[in-house]
């Protein structure tokens, strides 16, 4: 039985506001276009994608050895490495570090992994105030929302709404919605937080096995403002974020920002190897079911993801249904192949939130076969997951009909007659999801087969 809100049900809420849906669609498509311009400037773009994909193949097939190297090299750099098999253990590690150093004020830069682990909520329950410092994340933190996009967390909000939020939380002028003014106000507000912080939490874009160091990419500079002022830096990293060699960054940094926003590189690509004198640096390596995904032959390639968000920006479903309709930390096409691996029951509708057009696969910088995996997840859901009894029955009937030509012809001619007589009240009834935003085409009087039989004869004569 279905126990969770499906993508379609959640999307219904979003598409109620047609104007906003249109705006969301256009805004993300604009980002996709910027990505195209950036990619097309590099004649070697496809070579970079292939190389990145092969490097990640190597990483997945040598992950245990690379993690051991990474840990050894990081320890030699004076960094403490902790391992977490799930979200709970990750959060407990963070808490024990905060307790050990008697931390009061925490700043955090963007980390999808900590969202996945529910870290903010966990720490708030323990009485900590965690300040998200990425502008988009700070905006949604004020109104207790989660990111609706992994690169553009507040893309679902209009500037007027952000103006309202800032007016309430940091005292900007009422009615003010100029992005420049709002950003400047956030800069002043967050500088105070940076200066007061004792600990900084960051994500990790790339961990380098051969050096034990890691890279964090931002445009705002918030990860650096946080980590360099605080006494303790905690870097939270999914185990799949490794790359073997420092020089591989040449490939990944060329791909990441171009794919994400169309920039040639993020403003800051910060490489951390050793803590500053007298300060502490921790890396928490998190599994949280990644090793399970590694064991699924059809789906393990999803672990190559570098979290650029290009598949979201291009996806006709994501653009028109918004990030929240996925009800998953990572939304969009990549989220729809990652999340069923985390909880098939909860996320069983996500592989169906796609037209299978394959645009996601085309733009993926590490060549993940996203649309093929979506199709394969559908088969898994049909076998193992919860399913809609109406759909199941309809599919069975369709399967039987399509496999028997005689039956197909019969039902076809019946349907053409019946549909002409079907009252609109039935086509557009609330039971028929298809009719919600669509009109039936005019029903033809004969099938193509019948038409062909007649016309072939007249042509031959």
């Amino acid at each position: 039985m279905k126990t969770h809100t499906s993508h379609a049900e959640a999307a219904e809420e979003f598409v109620k506001d047609e104007e906003r849906t249109h705006w969301h669609d256009e805004t993300l498509w604009h980002v996709r276009e910027k990505r195209d311009v950036a990619a097309h400037k590099l004649p070697e773009w496809e070579q970079l994608r292939t190389n990145a994909s092969l490097i990640k193949d190597y990483v997945l097939s040598h992950l245990d050895g690379l993690l051991i190297d990474f840990e050894k090299n990081a320890q030699a750099n004076g960094v403490e490495v902790l391992w977490a098999k799930d979200a709970k253990e990750h959060n407990e590690h963070v808490l024990s570090i905060l307790q050990k150093h008697q931390i009061k004020n925490i700043v955090k830069s963007k980390s999808i992994l900590t969202e996945e682990c529910g870290l903010n909520h966990y720490l708030e329950e323990k009485g900590y105030d965690v300040v998200d410092t990425d502008l988009g994340e700070r905006i949604i933190q004020f109104v207790k929302q989660v990111p609706s996009h992994i690169v553009l967390p507040a893309i679902h909000l209009k500037k007027e709404e952000i103006g309202e939020i800032f007016h309430e939380h940091i005292g900007t002028d009422q009615g003010a919605s100029d992005p420049k003014y709002l950003t400047e106000s956030a800069r002043l507000h967050l500088r105070e937080k940076f200066v007061q912080a004792n600990a900084a939490i960051t994500g990790v874009n790339f961990g380098i096995a051969e050096t034990g160091g890691f890279v964090v990419c931002t445009n705002e500079g918030n990860a650096d403002m946080g980590t360099h002022l605080a006494d303790v830096h905690i870097a939270c990293m999914g185990i799949e974020k490794l790359i073997p060699r420092a020089a591989d960054l040449g490939v990944f940094l060329r791909l990441l920002a171009r794919s994400a926003t169309g920039q040639s590189i993020t403003t800051y690509s910060s490489h951390f190897s050793r803590p500053m004198d007298g300060k502490k640096m921790y890396i928490i390596l998190v599994d949280n079911k990644r090793t399970e995904q590694l064991g699924r032959e059809d789906f393990r390639n999803s672990l190559k993801c570098i979290r650029c968000g290009a598949c979201m920006n291009t996806c006709p479903i994501y653009r028109r249904s918004g990030g929240y309709s996925y009800n998953s930390t990572v939304p969009g096409p990549i989220g729809s192949i990652l999340s069923p691996g985390l909880d098939l029951n909860k996320h069983s509708s996500l592989p169906f939130a796609s037209t299978l057009c394959g645009s996601c696969t085309d733009v993926c910088p590490v060549k993940i076969n996203i649309h093929e995996q979506l199709y394969k997840w559908r088969q898994v859901v049909a076998k193992e997951g919860p399913s809609d009894p109406v759909k199941k029955w309809a599919m069975k009937l369709a399967g039987a009909t399509l496999s028997k030509p005689g039956l197909y012809d019969f039902f076809g001619s019946m349907a053409r007659k019946a549909l002409k007589l079907t009252p609109d009240s039935l086509v557009y009834s609330s039971l028929n999801a298809w009719g919600k935003q669509r009109d039936l085409p005019e029903v033809p009087s004969e099938s193509f087969k019948e038409w062909y039989k007649k016309n072939r004869k007249s042509h031959e004569q």
Partner: protein, 191 residues
């Protein structure tokens, strides 16, 4: 069993059969690197200028920054008014208006310049300052990131950062705003 061992064991059971690590890529270019760099940094919202001597930079600073504001210079020939060696706590840098630092390698394709703790007594300096000047020798320009990584050794570096422009954000309706949390401007002098 420790979590580490559990994770490593699970990987051992589940990982695919071994594939080979591909060779490093290189894309040599015969472009005019100074022209390309200048074009790239303009796209990123920064400015690049060619100068003949450090004196030209000194003049630029005098003409563009008000006297009395804090200037930290990491280059002997350029005058600052904050003695960085006496700063023990990086929080003391909060009021810095301008920092002048040297870059080690610059990538023309995207304007990214490598700045590392070899030349940074406090890692926060290029971020906490309101404005940033980076000085880069033209001889240290390379075409792209592949070449840049050939010139730096991460094992030799506690911290290093590629800086490619001023701090910026587009988190409010995708409107680009320069000056998020880090430096509000970046001026690169190519010498």
């Amino acid at each position: 069993m420790s979590s580490k061992q559990e994770i490593l064991d699970a990987i051992g059971r589940n990982k695919p059969s071994a594939t080979a690590l591909p060779n490093l890529l290189s894309f040599p270019s015969s472009e005019d690197l100074v022209a390309k760099y200048t074009q790239s940094i303009t796209l990123n919202g920064g400015t690049a200028m060619e100068v003949d001597s450090l004196d030209d930079i000194q003049v630029y600073i005098q003409e563009n920054f008000l006297e009395g504001l804090q200037i930290v210079s990491m280059i002997d020939e350029i005058a600052g008014n904050v003695e960085i060696s006496s700063v023990t706590d990086p929080h003391e840098l909060e009021a810095v208006e301008l920092a002048v630092v040297s870059g080690e390698v610059g990538s023309a394709e995207n304007a990214a310049i490598w700045v590392s703790d070899k030349n940074l007594p406090h890692r926060v300096l290029p971020f906490i300052t309101q404005h940033l000047i980076i000085i880069l020798e033209k001889a240290n320009l390379v075409a792209n990131m592949h070449e840049a990584y050939q010139k730096i050794d991460l094992r030799d570096t506690g911290y290093g950062v590629f800086i490619a422009g001023p701090s910026k954000t587009a988190d409010i309706e995708q409107s680009l705003v320069i000056g998020a949390h880090g430096a509000r401007s970046l001026t690169v002098f190519l010498i």
